[in-house]
Symmetry: C2
Subunit: 253 residues, 2 copies
């Protein structure tokens, strides 16, 4: 037993998952959460319990193309072989995209300086291949009104009205929504949101607000009022989880 | 009971399905086939058994974006409402894209003058969203060799060597492969095949031949020989069903 071999390395991992078959990210009794499945795999690879730390949890049904987590473990065979070893026993809906050595000060959650999410709307009837990944809206949406609503939401605001929080919230609820873009292509509208961080169910509340604007149920003035007062507009729906993708977690280079 | 109401109309329907949850197209004991599910829905809508006729069957696991079937039934509320009535009770993996009145001489199978399929290959590790719809190839493929193989396969030939048939085949096995194109984009290769008709497992055999060519296991000369002799090359694998999509059935305008 050489002390050198036992010195654990910090590993930064990027993973992708289809949220449908899992009970969300966060570990729960009875398993079935993505964290439980990855930790069970680590136990198989390292022969002992190894806790992982993600950039944040995602709710049941939410997808990820670039969720980040880290863990500490000794491993002498290189990052590429560790990636292959981790992925070998995972279900096909969960993929380890990359594994890299990270400095001991790196933390998937606390080192993050921002996140990018996308939310996908489909107008009309999506085909069976798109349907698991969109929020279906049968009625037309006023795209110009949605764009105006996005402009009212962008920027540094107290977003408690556009989240689902304990009342009163214990945390600081000011976030810098650096980007909130809409792109329409055929029957699809893709919403891209980037911020220094997001409150609980914030992206889905923003998507709900944009749809409400497209249906004529909420105006930019009403959005500005909600941001100022912190009171959630009654017309606001939280968009369903299957349209949401965690695209990327941002770190300093 | 007016005879006019009882005169059945012929309806041409286009449907799309994710093949994964179904036991293929063709009706089978115990149900679970796409035909069984649609016929059960017709029974619910019309109150009586109604047989449907498709352009052809697709095997278990094969997808469709434009499968066509027809049936005869009396219905006085228009094609749009019939589409909605049919789709209301179907599983989300199965979509009725359109319903149109057709002349009584129209037959989904016998009126077809061609079909277009695509087959999708992924080089390396696909993400969880692509994985159910591709054939994953871990090793590099020689794209130029695949293109040369496609050129050797295109045209009017006896394709019995590139199908899975009873021995000896009872049917005419000459088909006109009007198009066999490859498009590479990043890690994906899309094969598009159009012919006046396809033999059983022919597209999957063609995809298997193209991959064998990309792996250096088969040459254009060997392909020409197989077409001439009707003997299936031993190096030929039938590509798995999940990469295959029936895109479109062609009819005279």
């Amino acid at each position: 037993m050489t002390p050198k071999n036992e010195t654990p390395t910090r590993w930064k991992c990027v993973c992708a998952y289809n949220g449908a078959p899992f009970a969300g990210w966060q570990s729960q009794r009875g398993g079935g959460a993505i964290q439980d499945i990855i930790e069970a795999r680590l136990r198989a690879v390292f022969g002992r319990g190894t806790r992982i730390h993600a950039s944040g949890r995602t709710d049941a049904g939410v997808h990820a193309r670039g969720q980040v987590f880290h863990f500490d473990a000794p491993w002498r065979h290189g990052a590429g072989k560790l990636r292959a070893a981790l992925e070998a026993g995972l279900p096909p809906a969960l993929q380890i995209k990359s594994v890299r050595k990270a400095p001991p000060t790196f933390h998937a959650r606390f080192s993050a300086i921002g996140k990018i999410y996308t939310y996908h709307l489909h107008l009309g009837a999506p085909d069976p291949f798109a349907r698991p990944y969109v929020w279906v809206r049968r009625r037309p949406l006023d795209f110009a009104a949605m764009t105006a609503a996005a402009a009212a939401l962008r920027g540094r605001h107290d977003f408690r009205a556009f989240s689902v929080l304990n009342d009163p919230p214990r945390e600081n609820t000011v976030r810098d929504l650096r980007r909130l873009d809409l792109v329409r292509r055929g029957a699809r509208i893709r919403v891209t949101a980037e911020a220094d961080g997001f409150l609980y169910k914030m992206v889905r509340s923003l998507a709900g607000a944009l749809v409400a604007a497209g249906e004529g149920k909420i105006t930019p003035a009403r959005i500005a009022e909600a941001l100022a007062t912190g009171k959630r507009p009654p017309s606001l729906t939280t968009a369903p989880p299957q349209g949401l993708f965690l695209e990327r977690v941002l770190y300093r280079p």
